[in-house]
C-alpha cells in the first residue's frame, strides 16, 4: 500500500462520485488498475447501500418528537436569573407595585389561574402588562414577554382540554402544516377561507394566532401573523440603532444579541421580529463569514445555495405537501425561505420545480411554478379532497363515518387516509400498528367544521 496507490484510490472515488465510470478511472492509472479495480467495485456496491432516500414522514415524525422533548426539558429547567442585586430588587419592587395596584394580593393570586373568558382574566393580563411596562432593563422586559408568551400557549392547551370556547391569542413556533391544519406551539390550528394570513409562513418560523378554541380541540384561526424568522444576508449599512442587512432595515437596541464583530460586507444571520407597527427588529445577529475580497455583490437572500451547485429542473404533479416537504411525482423536495412559489401551487397541480441538490443529498426547491396543463393531465378540483366513501350514521357527538383507504401520512396528531385528514387524540384506538401504504378501516366522527376525529383505525383484512 503506497502513497501513490492511496492517492489514486481517493482520486478515483472522487471521480466516481462525480459520475465517472470505473473503466475511465482505471485508465488514468494503468499500472495500478489490477489493485484498484476490486476496490472501486466494492466502493460502488457500498455507495448503492447508502443511496436510500430519507422518508419524509420519518423527518416529520422525529421533528415533532424532538420539539416536544425540548419543550418538556425547557419547562423542567429552573429559570436562569442573573445573580446581581439590581434585577432581583427590581423584581421585588415590581411585584410589590403590582400587588398594591391590584388592591391586594388575593386578587392577583386569584387571577393567576384565570383563563381567557373568565371574569378575572383581564385582571391577570393587566398585571402582566404592568410588569412589562415597569421592567427596567430590555433583558428583563424580553424575559417577561417570553414567559407570558409561553403562558398564553399553555392557557390555550388548558382551554382545549376542558373543551371550552373562548377568544384566544397566542404565539409559538409553527411546526407542521398539513393542508388547512397547522400545529403552532403544540396546538392544532385550523385555517379556513376566512382566516387572514399575514406573511409567508413556513415550519420553523414563529407566528401569532388569533382565533377561538373549539370543543373539537383545535383553534379556529381568524388571523395568523408572521412574527419571527431567520434571515441571512450581507451587512450593507451599520449604525448604532439600525443595520441594513440583505436589503432589510433592522432596528437594533440593547436587547439585540450580537455575536462576532460584524462589519459592512460581512455575511450575518439575523433573527428578525416583526413589530406591531410593521418595523423589523433584530433579536440576534450572528456573524457567519467575512468576505475574502470585499465586492459589491448584491446581498443574497436567505440561505442561498453554493453558487457552484448545479440547478436541476423537474416537472410533475404535486401529490402531497407535508410541512416543508413537497412531493412531486414521487420526488421529495425541501422548501424554505429561499423557495419561490409562483401561481399558488397546490396538491394536484402540475408544476415545474427548479432545485439544487444539497450536500446531504436532499433536493432543495428554489422555485415551484404551476405550469400549463395538458388536456389529459388536468386534475380535478384540487382544493378540497372528496368526502370518504363509506357509511355514515348520526350519533349524539356527530356523524359517525366509516371508510377504507390507504394510509398516506402519519404524524402524532394527524393521519391522512385516502386523502382525508384525521385528527388523532388520546381516545383514538389504533390497532395493528398500520404503516404508510397499508390499507386501513377508519371509524371517525365528523365534527363541526368538517373535521374528522378518528375513533378507531385498524388494518383492513384482504
Amino acid at each position: 500500500m503506497t502513497q501513490h496507490l492511496l492517492d489514486a484510490l481517493q482520486a478515483s472515488l472522487t471521480a466516481l462520485e462525480s459520475g465517472a465510470e470505473v473503466e475511465a478511472c482505471l485508465a488514468k492509472y494503468p499500472d495500478l488498475a489490477p489493485q484498484l479495480r476490486p476496490l472501486l467495485e466494492a466502493a460502488l456496491e457500498a455507495r448503492h447501500l447508502g443511496s436510500a432516500a430519507v422518508p419524509a414522514e420519518a423527518v416529520l415524525r422525529t421533528q415533532q418528537a424532538i420539539l416536544a422533548h425540548g419543550r418538556m426539558l425547557r419547562q423542567c429547567r429552573p429559570p436562569v436569573r442573573k445573580a446581581g442585586l439590581q434585577p432581583r430588587l427590581a423584581y421585588a419592587l415590581l411585584a410589590l407595585a403590582a400587588s398594591l395596584i391590584l388592591s391586594g394580593g388575593w386578587l392577583a393570586s386569584a387571577s393567576a389561574a384565570a383563563l381567557p373568558g373568565d371574569w378575572l382574566y383581564p385582571v391577570k393580563r393587566a398585571a402582566e402588562d404592568l410588569r412589562i411596562r415597569l421592567a427596567v432593563s430590555v433583558e428583563a422586559r424580553q424575559r417577561l414577554e417570553a414567559d407570558y408568551s409561553e403562558r398564553r400557549a399553555s392557557e390555550v392547551l388548558t382551554l382545549l382540554q376542558l373543551g371550552r370556547t373562548a377568544n384566544v391569542s397566542f404565539e409559538g413556533v409553527l411546526t407542521e402544516q398539513v393542508s388547512d391544519l397547522w400545529t403552532v406551539a403544540g396546538t392544532l390550528v385550523r385555517i379556513d377561507s376566512a382566516t387572514r394570513l399575514a406573511g409567508e409562513m413556513l415550519p420553523g418560523m414563529t407566528v401569532e394566532v388569533h382565533g377561538q378554541t373549539q370543543p373539537q380541540r383545535f383553534v379556529l384561526a381568524n388571523e395568523v401573523l408572521l412574527l419571527e424568522y431567520d434571515w441571512t444576508g450581507i451587512v450593507e449599512d451599520l449604525q448604532s440603532t439600525t443595520w441594513r442587512v440583505g436589503g432589510l432595515r433592522l432596528g437594533v437596541d440593547r436587547g439585540t444579541r450580537i455575536e462576532g464583530e460584524a462589519e459592512v460586507g460581512d455575511l450575518v444571520r439575523v433573527r428578525v421580529r416583526i413589530g406591531s407597527d410593521g418595523n423589523l427588529q433584530a433579536r440576534a445577529i450572528y456573524l457567519v463569514s467575512t468576505p475574502i475580497a470585499p465586492t459589491s455583490t448584491p446581498a443574497p437572500s436567505p440561505p442561498t445555495p453554493e453558487p457552484e451547485q448545479e440547478r436541476m429542473e423537474f416537472r410533475g404533479v404535486v401529490t402531497s405537501i407535508a410541512g416543508m416537504v413537497w412531493t412531486v411525482s414521487g420526488q421529495a423536495f425541501l422548501t424554505g425561505l429561499e423557495t419561490r412559489f409562483e401561481d399558488n401551487p397546490r396538491v394536484g397541480d402540475t408544476v415545474e420545480v427548479e432545485a439544487v441538490r444539497l450536500l446531504n443529498g436532499d433536493l432543495l426547491a428554489l422555485r415551484i411554478r404551476v405550469t400549463e396543463q395538458e388536456e389529459d393531465e388536468r386534475t380535478p378540483e384540487p382544493t378540497r379532497t372528496p368526502e370518504p366513501e363509506g357509511t355514515e350514521e348520526h350519533g349524539e357527538e356527530g356523524e359517525k363515518v366509516t371508510f377504507v383507504g390507504e394510509v398516506e401520512a402519519i404524524s402524532p396528531t394527524i393521519w391522512v387516509v385516502a386523502g382525508q385528514q384525521l385528527v388523532i387524540d388520546d381516545e383514538t384506538e389504533i390497532r395493528d400498528d398500520p404503516a404508510v401504504g397499508q390499507t386501513v378501516r377508519v371509524e371517525a366522527i365528523k365534527q363541526a367544521g368538517g373535521v374528522l376525529l378518528a375513533r378507531r383505525i385498524e388494518l383492513e383484512d384482504d
Partner: protein, 178 residues
C-alpha cells in the same frame, strides 16, 4: 463554524427554532449514516432520533458539544449502533432488513439484487467497527475525505489508508461470503 456556534447558542437555550433548525440540518445525515450501518429503516430512525434526544438531554444538563455539533451527533449515533450490535450479538435473531425485502418489479433482477445486497451486508458486518464507521461516513453520510477526517479526529492521509483497508476487507468479505 459561525453557523454551528449560532446553532449551539440556541440549542443551549432549548430554543424551539434552533432545535427545529438543527433537526432539519442533521437528521438526514444521521439517518443515512445509521441506515448504512444497520440496513433497516425503522432502526435507523430510532438511532437518529435517540441521538437528538440525548443531545437535548445533554445540553439541558449543562453538557453536550462544545464545538462540533455534527461530530457529537455522529459520535453518539455510532455508539448507539455499536450498542445495538452488542445486544444483537448477545441475543442473536435474524431479521430481514428493509433493503432485503423488495427490489423492483422484475422478480429475477429483484432476487439477484437482494442476494447481492445480502452478501454485501454480511461482508460489512465482518469489518472492524472503525472500518464500518469510515465506510458509513464516506458512502452512507456522503462526507468528503476532509469531513470524515474531522469527524474521526484523524488526518486525511490516515483516512485514505483506512478507507483503502476497509474497501479491501469488504471486497474480500464479499468473495468469501459468495
Amino acid at each position: 463554524m459561525a453557523e454551528e456556534r449560532f446553532e449551539l447558542k440556541g440549542l443551549r437555550a432549548l430554543d424551539p427554532q434552533a432545535i427545529a433548525s438543527i433537526h432539519h440540518r442533521y437528521f438526514p445525515e444521521l439517518y443515512r449514516y445509521a441506515r448504512f450501518r444497520l440496513g433497516d429503516n425503522s432502526s435507523a430512525e430510532d438511532v437518529a432520533s435517540e441521538a437528538f434526544v440525548r443531545l437535548l438531554e445533554a445540553v439541558a444538563d449543562g453538557r453536550g458539544p462544545e464545538s462540533s455539533l455534527r461530530g457529537w451527533l455522529i459520535g453518539t449515533a455510532a455508539n448507539l449502533i455499536n450498542m445495538h450490535f452488542r445486544r444483537a450479538y448477545r441475543r442473536p435473531q435474524e431479521q430481514l432488513s428493509d433493503e432485503l425485502i423488495s427490489d423492483g418489479p422484475d422478480p429475477a433482477a429483484s432476487a439477484e439484487g437482494i442476494e447481492q445486497r445480502h452478501v454485501l451486508r454480511r461482508a460489512l458486518r465482518r469489518l472492524t467497527p472503525e472500518q464500518q464507521h469510515v465506510l458509513a461516513l464516506r458512502f452512507g453520510g456522503g462526507y468528503s475525505l476532509e469531513e470524515t477526517a474531522a469527524l474521526m479526529h484523524k488526518r486525511p492521509n490516515a483516512i485514505k489508508a483506512l478507507q483503502f483497508r476497509a474497501l479491501a476487507a469488504l471486497r474480500r468479505g464479499m468473495e468469501h461470503t459468495r
